[in-house]
């Protein structure tokens, strides 16, 4: 038996793990949650480059496993996320959530190694399915509704993607995953299908609608997989498509502005996912080796610090039951571990020196600078300051500091603390020793983040952004509000129009009833009254009564004749 005959997609390990999770003993579940992603990692790192497993499917040669640097990097962070996320969640999450999250991660790993569009599509839909279940595991009525909206959005995205894939398959005869040109309807459909998963405009709202309704542990998983597999798909299929630069810039500023208006701590973080994915989409749009390296590095560090931020928010929610900034504040006193880990995550997302964001995000802005994209570069620098504003300071400030809420929760359970500390350490480690990450980047990395020049400018930028935060603090007074977004159309306007339509139909029905149905009912009733079995014109008359009438008739005739 050769190696290739033994080959199977690494995702299968986690799918089997997901199936085992509900049936094993409670005490064995944490072991499984760590062991399964670990085995997956082992397999990922033993895959050679190139197509490793192919099969015939519907007349096409599908490549179930194709490995390369960038695919391995994304799969690694997905598996790592499943492991640490599972460890964070196992004492609080429902078994259904743990199992669905494992399957969801398996889908992400499957997409990472998909060598053709059909395999990509299958794992893509697999992710849509199980991520919807993770949203539903929020267990509330809001989660149920948000899950339905989320599911519909991703199924629509899936259909658009499938239309594109079929078009490409028919036009070119190839379903290979390779850089595509945006010159046909089909390739545009593929791009749109992928961008829906990346929470690109105009449908960015699905993300901040669904993720914050999941359980405190569920939103940790959700933050990692869907948008980042979309980034990988863009990386592989559409590098250097300049339209992505503008889409990405919109996402960056959309995320900042909406996060600044938001009151719910997990929704602030959800908006900042859109913001961070925006940086990656811009990087793919720039498309140079430097920028693409930056995208891969940034996706890797982003998954870690964003999960860390959502873990600290989740810990706060589990311990206090509160999720609005207006209800929180002052938690640094009794939740020091959560606060410190949350702050490290916040610094990392802001690309503060010696954190992971610093060494990855700057590659994307440098990518813009080296290509002389002046406008893009100025936007990215302003946005970096804006990230510090909306996520770097706003999140920790309103949750852990600001006006004391009087809440005195303890730090969460040991496993939650351990998961947070692990990811916080990873943020710092990658920040201090960037070579750890650079060695695994798809292209030869010759980027040096720690120059005196870069340190000084970044500190100036961030610290003065911090000054702006505290100067404008009165403007940022939290309000018990949400902000309208495109979801208004299907959450509010849609139902309103539907109800108006219902009323219209009912009114027409009533009119029809009055004008047509009632008369049409009264005609048979009249016929029945006069001609029915009991009707005066149809009933059988007794002989006596006939005789009576004949007599009456005779009398009338006689009298008539007499009178005339």
């Amino acid at each position: 038996m050769t190696i290739s005959e033994l080959m199977f997609p690494p995702a299968f390990i986690m799918i089997i793990g997901a199936m085992l999770l509900p049936v094993v003993r409670d005490s064995f579940r944490p072991v499984l949650l760590v062991l399964v992603p670990l085995l997956t990692l082992l397999m990922i790192w033993n895959l050679d480059d190139g197509v490793l497993l192919s099969a015939r499917f519907l007349g096409y040669e599908v490549e179930l496993v194709e490995a390369s640097n960038v695919r391995r990097l994304f799969a690694t962070i997905f598996a790592l996320m499943a492991m640490i996320g599972g460890f964070f969640a196992f004492r609080h999450a429902k078994v259904a959530e743990l199992s669905a999250a494992m399957a969801y991660a398996a889908g992400a790993v499957g997409v990472s190694f998909a060598g053709d569009l059909i395999t990509l599509f299958l794992f893509w839909e697999f992710m849509a399915l199980f991520s919807t279940i993770v949203v539903w595991c929020g267990g509330t009525e809001e989660a149920r509704r948000a899950g339905i909206r989320y599911g519909i959005m991703h199924l629509i995205g899936g259909i658009i993607l499938k239309i594109g894939i079929e078009g490409v398959a028919i036009q070119t005869g190839s379903i290979e995953i390779q850089a595509l040109q945006l010159e046909s309807f089909a390739t545009w459909m593929i791009l749109i299908g992928i961008l829906i998963n990346a929470a690109a405009p105009p449908v960015s709202a699905w993300l901040s609608d669904a993720y914050p309704e999941a359980s405190p542990t569920g939103s940790v998983f959700l933050s990692a997989f869907t948008t980042k597999t979309a980034v990988l798909a863009l990386w592989l299929l559409f590098p250097g498509q300049s339209v992505l630069i503008w889409i990405g810039l919109y996402m960056i500023f959309y995320g900042i502005i909406y996060a600044l208006m938001e009151n719910d701590m997990r929704r602030i973080l959800a908006y900042s996912i859109v913001n961070q994915v925006g940086f990656m989409v811009v990087g793919v749009g720039i498309g140079t080796e430097m920028a693409l390296n930056g995208v891969a590095a940034h996706a890797f560090s982003h998954i870690i610090y964003k999960a860390l931020l959502l873990m600290s928010a989740g810990a706060v929610m589990v311990q206090t039951g509160k999720r609005k900034c207006t209800d929180l504040g002052g938690l640094y006193r009794t939740m020091p571990v959560t606060a410190v880990c949350g702050i490290i995550g916040a610094l990392a997302i802001s690309a503060f020196p010696y954190t992971s964001g610093f060494i990855s995000k700057s590659m994307i802005s440098s990518g813009a600078a080296y290509e002389q994209y002046a406008f893009v570069w100025y936007c990215l620098v302003a946005a970096s300051a804006g990230v510090f504003l909306h996520a770097g300071i706003k999140f920790p400030w309103f949750v852990f500091f600001q006006k004391d809420s009087g809440l005195r929760p303890k730090d969460p359970s040991w496993n939650m603390q351990a998961a947070m500390i692990f990811f916080a350490a990873a943020c710092v480690l990658i920040g201090v020793f960037p070579q750890i990450l650079y060695d695994f980047l798809p292209f030869e990395a010759t980027y040096e983040p720690y120059t005196a020049d870069h340190l000084v400018t970044q500190l100036q930028l961030l610290l003065f952004a911090g000054l702006a935060f505290f100067v404008t603090l009165p403007l940022m007074k939290r309000t018990l509000t949400i902000s309208l977004d495109v979801d208004f159309f299907y959450r509010r306007l849609g139902p309103i129009l539907w109800r108006a339509f219902e009323r219209l139909v009912k009114g027409l029905g009533d009119l029809l009833q009055a004008l047509v149905v009632k008369p049409s009912k009264s005609i048979p009733a009249m016929l029945l009254r006069y001609h029915g079995p009991e009707g005066p014109l149809a009933r059988t008359w007794p002989t006596g009564s006939m005789l009576l009438w004949v007599t009456v008739l005779l009398v009338v005739i006689l009298i008539g004749a007499r009178l005339l």
Binding site: R29, P30, F90, R91, H92, A93, K94, V95, A96, E97, C137, T140, A143, S215, P216, I256, I257, L260, M261, M317, V318, Q319, T320, G321, K322, K324, A369, Q372, A374, V381, A382, A385, G386, L389, D404, G406, R408, P409, D453, V456, T457, Q458, L459, Q460, L461, L462, L463, F464, A465, L467, A468, V471, T472, L475, T479, T481, I482, S483, L484, R492
Partner: protein, 118 residues
């Protein structure tokens, strides 16, 4: 705490059973006079501490700008070579974003029960 239902208690530690959303924080302690610890404000929130923090912060801000005297900043474009560019640009763009968000909020903000009462 009064809005928390007390008949169901949270059971953290029982693997896999899961918590119902309204059980989170069911036993979270709360103090009535949050601003005072043993009759005094916590050291971090005292007016004197905050004053010191503002001074320290201002000195650090000044240092990051002054550092540009010793460190040559490589400029890619027209403006970014100017002394203190990043400080001014960071401050002004953040101010712009906050004000923009505030103005946009006038049109877009709704009570957070907006989608509930349908």
């Amino acid at each position: 705490m009064s809005e928390q239902p007390d008949e169901i208690k949270a059971v953290p530690g029982r693997a896999g059973k899961g918590l119902v959303a309204n059980e989170y924080g069911a036993d979270c302690p709360r103090v009535e006079t949050p601003d005072l610890v043993d009759g005094k404000p916590h050291w971090l929130v005292r007016a004197s501490t905050i004053k010191i923090l503002w001074w320290v912060f201002s000195v650090i801000l000044a240092l990051t700008v002054l550092a540009q005297i010793f460190v040559h900043v490589h400029a890619y474009f027209a403006l970014d070579g100017y002394f203190g560019f990043y400080a001014i640009y960071g401050f002004v763009s953040c101010l712009g974003m906050v004000v923009f968000a505030k103005l946009l909020g006038v049109f877009l903000k709704r009570p957070d029960t907006y989608y509930d009462d349908l």
